[in-house]
Amino acid sequence: MSAVATGTPPATEEAAVRSRQVTEALAAVLDPELDRPITELGFVHGVSVDGGRVTARLRLPTYFCAPNFAWLMVDDARRALAALEWADSAEVVLEDHFASDEINAGVACGTGFDEAFPALADAERLDGLREVFLRKGMIASQGRIGRRLLAHGWTPQQLADAKLGDLPERVGLPLLRRRRALGLPSSTGAPAFVDESGRAVPASGIERHLTLARTTEVGIDANSEMCKGLLAVRYGEDAVLPREGAA
């Protein structure tokens, strides 16, 4: 490749831009079970960009992390990197995992999980799992938004009437992403507070909806609280950002 010939910025600046784009792309990859970006969880151990060739190295909290979840993250990360316009080749390497070889090879070749792990496949149903977690994440996300809006003086009626377009952009973005991924209505005119199947929640049901969403969030957090500790046990305290005490 030639940066000069195509009129793109000088090489060092271009490299900086690309490396930032890589980080952004990986930030959109969620740990399916924890419902949080792998970048925030400390799972991205390193990235390198060499012209159009991008490589990311991932590491997980335990050597025996469930292979299905590891697979999902490696696969999602590879897709996210391959989608970068300038990427000619995208490789994601899972380090230090008992199934690193199978996962790295399988994801690189586009093999299905079932083929790579015939003994585990029958009951795993990967896509179903991914969807379950997305739905939980979608509900939990509404809980966070709803409580914030109530604290700002919104009434349950206003929440029930709210459309996605009424939510402040930064607040609404994580919800929007999950709604899109689930194939639920995600236009600005769609109701903001919906149940698992996308039906609008009436004003009378808002309080219960938000409470159940809060409980859902505490449940999801069980995994992330556990995993953060496990990552620290394995790679030292600096491996993860502390979260206890954060809002």
């Binding site: 335990t62 409980t215 505490v218 449940g219 609280e225 046990v233």
Partner: protein, 337 residues
């Protein structure tokens, strides 16, 4: 018995093991993965001085368990919850028989529970009957591990017709308490089998049985709470939940707060999951614990009586264990189940 600030806490540890994951007994990489996953749990959530060397963790002695539970751990009675895992461990991981041998030597300390697997079909029903007779399970319980592998099967549901037949058999045999492992995924067990929805059907069908959901269904807390609000015979077991109290106290406050919100204080029970965690530090921590002030508007406070119920009184009620006068709650509104 634990004494603190003039209060007596009668302690029933509702969830303990006497396992063998020694290298000789570990049959394959799945057994290896399972015990290492357990070990990571201990290393992760225990105070440093409570982390064992891996060798000891794989197989500990009778002396260890007696010391950690009864000599220093304040436990009055402890309940063995067997986990067979015969596909991973040659002689099984933690069986009724290996638990029971210890319980026979110390009948005043241990209660041994049985187990069944509905995939054993009709033949298993007879085995359950023999087990109940041999280990005197009347008035006691069984531990179920719905995620356990068996041949090509990677788990079963409590709502399966055969599982319901087994539960009917339990009722007939006078087995009263059904402990079900519904918790975090432990590789290589399949997480679908930890789904809690099947408890709902079983609890509705058998109002006379108590269903103790070990690990409170984490991370499927909302599903578990939802079921528990509708089924009065469903209980929350705190093993795995309580150890968060040390390194993640605010998170523990949230979980206990949610449980109290959806259930009531008579349906939340203590279990250490020994030898993953040891009762001494868990009990001391819980008695000293309070919901952080900034979270109290949402979750309220934990009372001394609540802690007494959690640590022993509720489980004593489920298992008909006599509680010394000094540890009883005066004017308790609850009656024996």
């Amino acid at each position: 018995m634990y004494h603190k600030d003039g209060v007596d806490y009668f302690v029933v540890d509702g969830h303990i093991h006497f396992w063998d994951a020694s290298e000789e007994n570990t049959a394959n990489k799945y057994g290896e993965g399972f015990i290492r996953c357990f070990y990571d749990y201990q290393r992760n959530l225990s105070p440093k001085e409570w982390v064992w060397p891996l060798e000891k963790f794989r197989k500990y002695s009778e002396q260890d368990i007696l010391h950690d539970l009864f000599e220093t751990g304040y436990v009055d009675r402890a309940i063995f919850q067997p986990t067979y895992l015969t596909e991973f461990y040659t002689k099984g991981f933690n069986t009724t028989e290996s638990n029971g041998a210890l319980a026979r030597k110390h009948p005043d300390k241990f209660i041994v529970n049985g187990a069944f697997d509905p995939r054993e079909g009709e033949a298993g029903l007879d085995r359950l009957e023999q087990l109940a007779e041999e280990w005197n399970l009347r008035g006691r319980g069984v531990k179920l591990y719905t995620a356990e592998w068996r041949g090509d099967s990677k788990g079963y549901k409590l709502s399966d017709p055969m599982a319901l037949t087994y539960l009917a058999k339990c009722e007939e045999l006078g087995i009263r308490n059904v402990h079900i492992h519904k918790g975090p995924t432990i590789w290589p067990l399949n997480r679908d089998a930890f789904d809690v929805a099947d408890v709902d059907a079983a609890a509705t069908a058998f109002p006379g049985l108590n269903f103790v959901v070990e690990h409170s269904g984490l991370p499927r807390l909302e599903d578990f709470c939802w079921i528990a609000t509708q089924e009065p015979n469903v209980y929350a077991g705190l093993s795995v939940v309580l150890p968060f109290i040390h390194s993640r106290p605010r998170y523990f406050a949230k979980v206990i707060g949610e449980l109290l919100f959806w259930l009531d204080e008579d349906r939340i029970t203590f279990g250490s999951d020994y030898a993953i965690w040891s009762p001494k530090w868990l009990i001391e921590s819980l008695v000293d614990f309070q919901i952080p002030e900034d979270m109290q508007s949402e979750y309220g406070q934990l009372t001394t009586d609540f802690k007494r119920k959690v640590l022993g009184l509720t489980m004593a009620r489920l298992y008909d264990i006599k509680v010394p006068e000094s540890a009883q709650i005066k004017d308790a509104g609850t009656v024996a189940a």
